[in-house]
């Protein structure tokens, strides 16, 4: 394994370990909440559609984001809510 591959592996491990939107207080993946936040979504599509993947709405940035995204404003959910 050369140095570049080692660096790539370390980076991949760090990314996996990094906090992400999925466990952030500001992030919501509830399909019904997403439909309520995006008027008209359920008229021709759905919050339950596969094409949405694991995306959710970020209340901090007011953006639709992937659950694997992260930012400096990350605020971890309490463990009991993660396990809910």
């Amino acid at each position: 394994m050369n140095a570049l591959e080692v660096r790539a592996q370390i980076r991949a491990r760090d990314l996996r370990a990094a906090p992400a939107c999925a466990t952030c207080t500001f992030f919501s993946v509830d399909p019904l909440q997403i439909e309520a936040q995006l008027p008209g979504l359920n008229a021709l599509s759905s919050g339950f559609a596969s094409v949405r993947g694991g995306d959710g709405l970020c209340a901090r940035h007011q953006r639709l984001l992937r659950a694997t995204s992260f930012c400096a404003n990350y605020s971890a959910l309490p463990q009991f809510q993660r396990d809910a």
């Binding site: 999925a22 466990t23 919501s28 309520a36 021709l44 596969s50 094409v51 993947g53 992937r66 995204s69």
Partner: protein, 476 residues
Amino acid sequence: MGGSKSGGGLAVATDSATAPKPAPVSSWRELFGKEDWWAIWIGLGLVIAAVIAFANGGSIKWLAVTPQKWSRWSEITAQFATNAPRYFSLFILWLVLFGVAAKALGIRIAHFVPAFAVLFVVTTLIYALGLWDRAAYYSLEPPLVALLFGLIVSNLFTLPTWLHSALRVEFYVKTGIVLLGAGVPLALIVWAGPVAIVQAAIISLTTFGTIYFVAKRLGLDQRLAAVLGTGGAVCGVSAAIAVGGAVGAKKEHVSLTITVVFLWAIVMIFVLPLLAKALSLPTGVAGAWIGTSEFADAAGFAAAQTYAGFAGQPGISGTGEAAVQAFTLMKVIGRDLWIGVWALVLSIVAVTRWESNGITSRTDSGEIWRRFPKFVIGFFIASAIVTLVAHGFDYATYKKTLVPDVVAPLQGLRTWAFTFCFLSISLTTRLRDLAAAGAKPFYAFSAGVAVNLLLGYLLSTQVFASFWQQLGQPTP
């Protein structure tokens, strides 16, 4: 109330009875947490039930009751009186199938049951109205009646909240598409698929390029331009949320894209079939044009089903089924399948070339599968099952046994699912609730609509016309 985590003002009252987990849905949980998979379970379950009944010398046609042609009021009331047990059984079947799915999706079942009962009754009346022998004369095609009725009701009156529990447009249309697979031979998909993909690639790239270019020229944000572009080029509102999430678009940008897509999709439901009728296009050609130039599956099926109703009228050649099949091949196989690829490519562009939005995103090729419209798998499997069952039958036997005992009842169930969908579109639509779109996004998207409409017409009626005209030919 939904107990999902929320913060910073994102808490929204929903009637979700169960608390969704904060983490993204895992692969296994997705099998029961997404509408796409439930559409597959329900659609394939019905196909398999039809085949098992056929293999045992029976048929599900008693259950798959549909209104028949009528000319006098007394005839239709007699139909309902005679078939009341069948309609009631069908209602229970749909209620159980969709109700179990709704429960699994976190929709409050106490709301869903009465709401679905209302939906079923109104759908039955609209379905029956479309079979009045004077319906064509007054242009009372069921999809158009369902849309107009719902738009009037939902915008003049405030519907009770519980009624919305059963208005699941995408769920019904996806279930209908899986059932549709039973009527499309696998050989037809193999034969027509590549042409549909080529035509769709031309139209998708051109439409996206036009909208993106005009949006940028008008000074709009790159992410907004991309979301608008894929909304017009691929699969409408579904593309808007898929690409919106992939590139990290602002919520307001996704909302206004939904508004613009929605307005044009509704307009096209009425314009495309009427324009195609005025041009006397064969049903297969019209279906391909609708599949090329409509923006959302549900709206497109409404337009294609409307044109299917014109089959047999003076100047309109081809079968009604050809319009629906051509639409499906163009829209679902030609355009929808590729949304994951669009999302992956644009997410890479967003990360590497666009201005940072302050959020770090990770992307990989798994994006293609994560966003793959899984219900299409059900469409292919349904087609494969019926093709396999039909294998070995000569054409006469196929027409005499398999069609009336298996294919026709599944077509009837499909029409029910689509009509639930058409009514749900309009009853869900409250124009005053849609986000304000603004002039520039509207102009950019409209430029794409103009190019798409013209190019779609040329590709469907000139370049690939002879191909689309062959659809609907009587081959098993």
